[in-house]
Amino acid sequence: MGATGKLDDVEIMKRLLKYFGLTDSLNLVNLSKGTTMKDVRLKAGDLQGFNYILIELVNTKGLGLNLSGRSAEQRALVHQWLQYNILHLTDKTSITEYVLKEMDSYLVPCTFFAGHNLTLADPVIYLSLYPVFMDMSFQEKEKYPNLSRWFRLIQEDSELRGKNKKVPFASVPLYNTTNLFH
């Protein structure tokens, strides 16, 4: 993270590719220093943009876990969230209260971002939101109950978490429920 709050895209892309079982494919992607998720390219061919590369690699070389979506609808949702990640979440300073609220309300009816099972979207968003959640107080986390609930679930995957610390969450809401002391 530099002074601008920009996350290190290269580091994140490497982690994600490894997490999705694409370690063998790392050398297919041009990950030289300073590459961003927007302008990353495959070494061969003219595919540009991390979203497209990720979906392409997962579909052709991945573990066959349907991570890019099981139905046309879900594939569209995964795509939408990957795009959302690039537009709103790759720069820490652009992750505003509005963005967090929007994601929170989206997660009211679904356990994961693209419905009922883990897809590419969840780990990608986890890594983008990690520094934000690390800085939040319990009270702030409680402002986004659904997003917090989702984050708490996703961070349980130790392979994805890597060296990241587990963000602590309160099991019982402390600030805005009926049986409270404040």
């Binding site: 997660l107 679904c110 356990t111 009922h116 099972n117 109950p145 708490r152 679930l153 099991s171 809401p173």
Partner: protein, 211 residues
């Protein structure tokens, strides 16, 4: 776990429980989810019980896989699905199961089940010391203790208690209880005590020992 109550109050409680959790217990689907799911008749109203509705739809999406969730509340024992870790369930993908290995496992499970039937295992219990704090020095501590002791749950036994001064004339109630781990949820117990809002300010677990 205690979430098999399908009355409006029971559903509300489960809804609150699921507010901060994706599953009833832990971070992967388990038999606790199946039990709670089966107890609910029909989809909950998403306006009144948003968290419950989210969870309900999620568990529903597993279809028949529900019976294979790990955990031992009825149905098959922690079974054939996947033993290496919880994330396998997230992907809902278990076709790679090796037939041979599955057979051996089934056999072992059958042996284990037979063994288990013969002698019921020891019941896991915990001894817990709770600190119950009043609002101020004017709170009637005797009444508070009586209220706490009024709580009756299957598998819960109250033990000795005493008042410990915290300062400025305020006492807190320290009370020992013994619970059977399978039957009593500590979260639920502390929440129940905290529901006596007039008397109780907060409840802490001072000590927690497995017996």
């Amino acid at each position: 776990m205690a979430f098999t109550d399908s009355s409006p109050a029971g559903l509300k409680k489960l809804n609150e429980h699921l507010r901060t959790r994706s599953y009833v217990e832990g971070y992967a689907p388990s038999q606790a989810d199946t039990a709670a799911f089966n107890a609910i008749k029909g989809a909950p109203n998403a306006n009144d019980l948003p968290y419950l509705a989210r969870w309900y739809n999620h568990i529903k999406s597993y279809g028949d896989l529900r019976k294979q969730f790990p955990g031992a509340a009825g149905g098959k024992p922690a079974a054939a699905a996947a033993d290496d870790d919880d994330d396998v369930d997230l992907f809902g993908d278990d076709d790679e199961d090796d037939n041979e290995a599955a057979k051996v496992r089934e056999q072992r499970l059958a042996e284990y089940a037979a063994k288990k039937e013969k002698k019921p295992g020891p019941i896991a219990k915990s001894s817990i010391v709770l600190d119950v704090k009043p609002w101020d020095d004017e709170t009637d501590m005797k009444a508070m203790e009586a209220k706490v002791r009024e709580i009756v749950m299957d598998g819960l036994v109250w033990g000795a208690s005493k008042f410990v001064p915290v300062g400025y004339g305020i006492n807190k109630l320290q009370i020992i209880c013994v619970v059977e781990d399978d039957k009593v949820s500590i979260d639920l117990l502390t929440e129940t005590i905290q529901d006596y809002e007039d008397l109780v300010q907060s409840v802490d677990i001072a000590a927690f020992n497995k017996i």
